[in-house]
């Protein structure tokens, strides 16, 4: 049976069976790894950081998947964990910066500029710089909608915010990004 066509319900059933637990978990990773990786990568920017956060996140999923309640979708649950793990990682990094007074090295703009493919003249990189200038919540909303194409209803469960507020937030974020690109 191909993992691509397996539903979350099937995977969860297999995960609860000790004989198929590991195989089911591997399938869950394969099913969601790319979406989650890019979601995390856009937040933490570095591949190494994204890889750390993603691996830690899946280890937490392994430990807590037995207690997962199926009234929420596995997809939104995984997104919520990856979002929280990314924000925790960034906050910890910020705390370490404030102690070392080395703000520049860990700032999102510095990380973007450190990317070997960074080109300040290209619009797509300006877009990334603009996204990093957004407040945290607007950044999350913009990324989930613009890149992950997540329906507002699902986003509402991931970010625990009303769909109306999310729509407004997305609109403001897009306008701010436009301003940033046009003025830089």
């Amino acid at each position: 049976m191909s993992t691509e066509i397996q539903s979350d319900e099937e995977l969860l059933l297999q995960f609860r069976d000790p004989s198929t637990k590991e195989r089911a978990f591997e399938s869950i990773i394969k099913k969601y790894q790319e979406k989650l990786y890019w979601h995390i990568r856009r937040l933490v920017i570095n591949h190494e950081d994204a890889n750390d956060v993603l691996q830690n996140m899946f280890i937490k999923v392994w430990k807590s998947l037995d207690n997962f309640r199926e009234e929420s979708q596995l997809y939104t649950w995984l997104y919520r964990i990856s979002t929280n793990e990314s924000l925790t990682f960034l906050n910890n990094q910020k705390k370490r910066n404030s102690i070392s007074l080395d703000d520049e090295e860990y700032s999102p703009a510095y990380k973007l500029k450190s990317d070997p493919h960074f080109d300040a003249n290209k619009l797509e990189w300006k877009l990334q710089m603009a996204i990093q200038s957004l407040p945290e919540k607007q950044k999350l909303v913009f990324n989930l909608r613009y890149y992950d194409e997540m329906p507002y209803e699902q986003m509402s469960k991931v970010l625990e915010t009303s769909t109306g507020a999310l729509k407004a937030s997305y609109h403001h974020a897009a306008k701010k990004i436009e301003d940033f690109i046009l003025n830089h």
Binding site: Y37, E124, E149, E178
Partner: protein, 258 residues
């Protein structure tokens, strides 16, 4: 990447600039990263000794586990409490915790219990005569209460004795002497008195005694009682059974039935 037309239209309405950039990913992941990721995570899980192979629990516990469980938990709580208190201290202070700057005489604690015991014995010898006085206040209170109770009891007894011997006049004399209330004069016979007493509830009697316990009535009863037959008050201080013995001696049960 298949773009959702609704999402594309939505961003186009807000800003066409971003609609044109939609779908462009500036970031790159290393080659074969996603192919290797599941295995990397499973290897890490294994290294971190997360239980990959779920086995049936054996439902066995070490011998004596439950007998010592509560003690072990309490011990651990105590250790953690002590540890957390130590953690709360600044490092400079927590490091100094075990250093005691004060000196004590040699063998102080070895000889301390004997020193205390010797002191207690010496005190006992000196204070033997005062042991009674140690309890004097308490005994005095009992003795006083007992004297009053016996006084009341004997007075009542004598009144009844007199009445039974002299007839109705005894009652009239007592009530005229001690009670100003003219209404009390209606109890001029033993029968009327008994009926009057019987008509009172326990609560009424208690309230009366509480209200008049130190009044003229009580003094008059005590003063008119014959205390010559009472045991020596000093005896109460030595032996609390003295009063009981005395009551038994005068056979007070008989008074109750009279």
């Amino acid at each position: 990447m298949n773009t959702d037309p609704n999402i594309l239209n939505e961003i186009r309405e807000i800003t066409p600039l971003l609609a044109d950039l939609h779908g462009i990913n500036v970031f790159q992941a290393p080659d074969n990263y996603f192919q290797n990721l599941p295995e990397s995570i499973l290897i890490r899980l294994d290294k971190e000794k997360v239980n990959l192979n779920i086995q049936e629990p054996s439902f066995e516990v070490p011998n004596g586990y439950f007998e010592s469980l509560s003690l072990n938990i309490l011990k651990k709580i105590k250790e953690e409490e002590m540890g957390s208190e130590s953690d709360e201290l600044p490092p400079v202070l927590s490091g100094q915790k075990s250093i005691n700057p004060f000196f004590i005489p040699q063998n102080y604690f070895e000889t301390f219990p004997q020193t205390v015991l010797d002191k207690i014995r010496n005190e006992d010898k000196r204070e033997t005569g005062k042991i009674v006085s140690f309890h004097f206040k308490k005994i005095y209170r009992y003795a006083t209460a007992a004297v009053i109770a016996v006084g009341l009891f004997l007075t009542s007894y004598l009144m009844f004795q007199n009445n039974s011997g002299k007839g109705k006049s005894g009652f009239a004399v007592v009530t005229r002497k001690t009670v100003d209330d003219p209404g009390a004069l209606k109890y001029n016979s033993e029968k009327a008195f008994n009926e009057g007493i019987a008509s009172l509830s326990d609560d009424q009697i208690i309230r009366y005694l509480e209200k008049n316990g130190n009044s003229f009535d009580m003094d008059a009863l005590i003063n008119s009682s014959d205390t010559s037959g009472l045991p020596n008050p000093e005896d109460y201080l030595i032996d609390e059974n003295t009063l009981n013995n005395y009551l038994n001696k005068i056979n007070y049960k008989n008074f109750e039935t009279q």
